[in-house]
């Protein structure tokens, strides 16, 4: 059976604006895809450990040597809005 999901909740978590039409289509498509994907539960038993990386590596460090950072102007050139060499964003904290 297709999986029922709360599209509005997931879209809010993903910070994704969707039209009513997109929500309708996604509800149907994701339901079918998840029904198929849920097959993983058939074989993944408790005694099987999970794999995050096929070739695991741990504590990979590079030499602690100072290097040049990226040129500020090149980085800021991509920003939608800049002020005083900083990324400008809409107000985050409400003023009382």
């Amino acid at each position: 059976m297709p999986v029922e999901i709360d599209i509005d909740h997931v879209a809010r978590l993903a910070r994704l604006e969707l039209t009513a039409e997109e929500k309708e289509r996604l509800r149907a498509q994701l339901g079918l895809i998840l029904e198929h994907a849920a097959k993983v539960g058939e074989v993944a038993t408790d005694d099987v450990p999970p794999t995050a990386y096929a070739i695991p590596r741990a504590n990979v460090l590079r030499p602690d040597v100072r290097t040049e950072s990226l040129p500020l102007q090149d980085v800021l050139a991509n920003a939608p809005e800049v002020e005083d060499d900083r990324f400008k964003v809409p107000r985050i904290v409400e003023v009382e």
């Binding site: 910070r15 994907a37 993983v40 038993t45 450990p49 999970p50 794999t51 590596r57 939608p80 809409p90």
Partner: protein, 490 residues
């Protein structure tokens, strides 16, 4: 007469050293081909003609000095998810339409150091999510073998450019088959090396535990040459493996006599086109003729690999793509506060497939569902790796079709995501297990479209993989050319 732009890098490299041609002449040949076919193929999102000419000039000076690496002077195309300093890199997405990276990816940095020549950035499915190149925000790529069919994806532009003679070779990326499947559909060689062999630094992330840089070439030896230039440890990527740089053309001609080749039983089941089965079976017979011993092998969890992949990859994608927030780069759609700005920006900037996968991944990672979906998928990943471990206890190399079908018509599967995802059923296991795999053309089907055959070897056995692929390539002698090029000659 064969044009320079249709030759292999191996041939061109020899001609350059013999003084029979120049890098400038080869670049001009590619640019001429681009002018003739690009309007129909649409492989490129950005062209770098001036840069190509300048780099060809530098390569010619270096070649005349007598100390140039094998890739020097050979024109190349890069998939538009690979960061290039000062050159727009869009990932095929509206959200990055104007993004100009302030740094180079390691693969391109190494190629530049070796004297490579860049022709441009190639079209792809948005953020490398897709198997047909139809998910690009900038329109589809057309397969040079039949312009009404897809080139495969997600690295469809790179595959089509190499097939059409627009570039001698190209780089792509492979997260679930995005190099091997388009290589198969376009009749070229596609190599996905071991996870971590090529640095991911500057590869704009889709699914970090699966993403791999890969190569598109017209022959197996060319793949070895290109790999030699870009493989090896990079301190900019913590998942890069501690492998020394080496020459991957060494031992290429040792043949397959005595090798044990396992034919993957699950890859010849229902859903695989008869023409694909027949072509791959004929190639297996050739391997036997070359002295390999052939046996059947089962990878019992193959069916579950697709399910696991479509949970793991979207989960990682939903996390990676959180960075497109309208703050540091890319599109911004204004809103009354920062959350509304982000939400609107992402709604306007991402296309349907990317939204689908972000939603899928967000759901699979969300409270209450994590263990049932993402957690279980990670366990299946362990089972896939065990399948391969068991198979490689008995065999040196595994063989299967690369894709269940040859190129399909543009538009045929766009409304059915599950059918589209099935394109990757044979390529996904190598990403989940980290193993190297290569697709080489095995012949044509009854529609005259190329069939691809996939070989897989254990982790870091690129030597064995390339050696087997080279022997098989020589035995098959695939010389068919896309219809588009036959029309040009006429």
């Amino acid at each position: 007469m064969t044009e320079l732009c249709d030759m292999t890098a191996t041939e061109l490299s020899a001609m350059l050293r013999a003084g029979q041609t120049s890098s400038a002449t080869i670049a001009a040949s590619c640019l001429e081909r681009i002018a003739a076919v690009e309007g129909r193929v649409k492989a490129f999102l950005a062209r770098t003609d001036d840069l190509a000419q300048a780099q060809a000039g530098s390569a010619d000076s270096r070649l005349s000095g007598g100390d140039a690496p094998a890739v020097a002077g050979i024109p190349l195309a890069l998939k538009d998810v690979l960061s290039t300093r000062g050159i727009t890199t869009t990932c095929g997405s509206k959200i990055l339409e104007t993004y100009v990276p302030p740094f180079d990816c390691t693969a391109w940095e190494r190629l530049q150091a070796d004297g490579a020549v860049l022709l441009g950035k190639t079209n792809c499915d948005e953020f490398a999510m897709g198997s047909s190149n139809e998910n690009s925000a900038f329109g589809p790529v057309h397969n040079p073998w039949d312009l009404d069919t897809v080139p495969g994806g997600s690295s469809g532009g790179s595959a089509a450019a190499v097939a059409a003679g627009e570039a001698v070779w190209a780089l792509g990326t492979d997260t679930g088959g995005s190099v091997r499947q388009p290589a198969s559909l376009c009749g070229v060689v596609g190599l996905k090396p071991t996870y971590g062999l090529i640095s991911r630094y500057g590869l704009i992330a889709f699914a970090s535990s699966l993403d791999t840089v890969g190569t598109f070439t017209r022959g197996v030896r060319d793949a070895a040459l290109l790999l030699t230039s870009i493989a090896g440890k990079d301190q900019m990527d913590a998942t890069s493996l501690d492998t020394p740089r080496r020459d991957y053309t060494e031992g290429l001609e040792q043949g397959v006599a005595g090798l044990k080749v396992g034919v993957v039983r699950e890859a010849f089941g229902e859903g695989v086109e008869p023409g694909v089965k027949a072509s791959v079976q004929a190639a297996v017979d050739r391997l036997e003729g070359l002295g390999a011993s052939i046996g059947e092998v089962s990878l019992p969890h193959t069916d579950y690999a697709l399910s696991a992949y479509y949970l793991i990859a979207p989960s990682e994608a939903s996390s990676n793509l959180a960075r497109y927030d309208g703050v540091r780069y890319g599109l911004r759609v204004p809103g009354s506060d920062s959350v509304e700005m982000m939400t609107r920006t992402r709604g306007a900037g991402f296309g349907p497939e990317v939204k689908r996968r972000i939603m899928l991944g967000t759901y699979a990672l969300s409270a209450g569902y994590y263990e049932a979906y993402y957690g279980q998928a990670q366990k299946v990943r362990t089972l896939i790796i065990r399948d391969y471990g068991a198979a490689f206890a008995d065999f040196d190399v595994l063989v299967s079709p690369t894709s269940p079908t040859t190129a399909f018509p543009i538009g045929a599967k766009v409304d059915d995501p599950l059918a589209m995802y099935l394109n990757d059923v044979f390529t996904i296991p190598a990403n989940l297990s980290g193993m190297p795999a290569i697709s080489i053309p095995s012949g044509l089907d009854d529609k005259g479209l190329p069939v691809g055959l996939q070989l897989t070897t254990p982790v870091l056995r690129e030597d064995l993989l390339l050696r087997a692929a080279f022997a098989l390539e020589q035995a098959i002698g695939f010389e068919a050319r896309p219809g588009l090029l036959a029309d040009l000659a006429a």
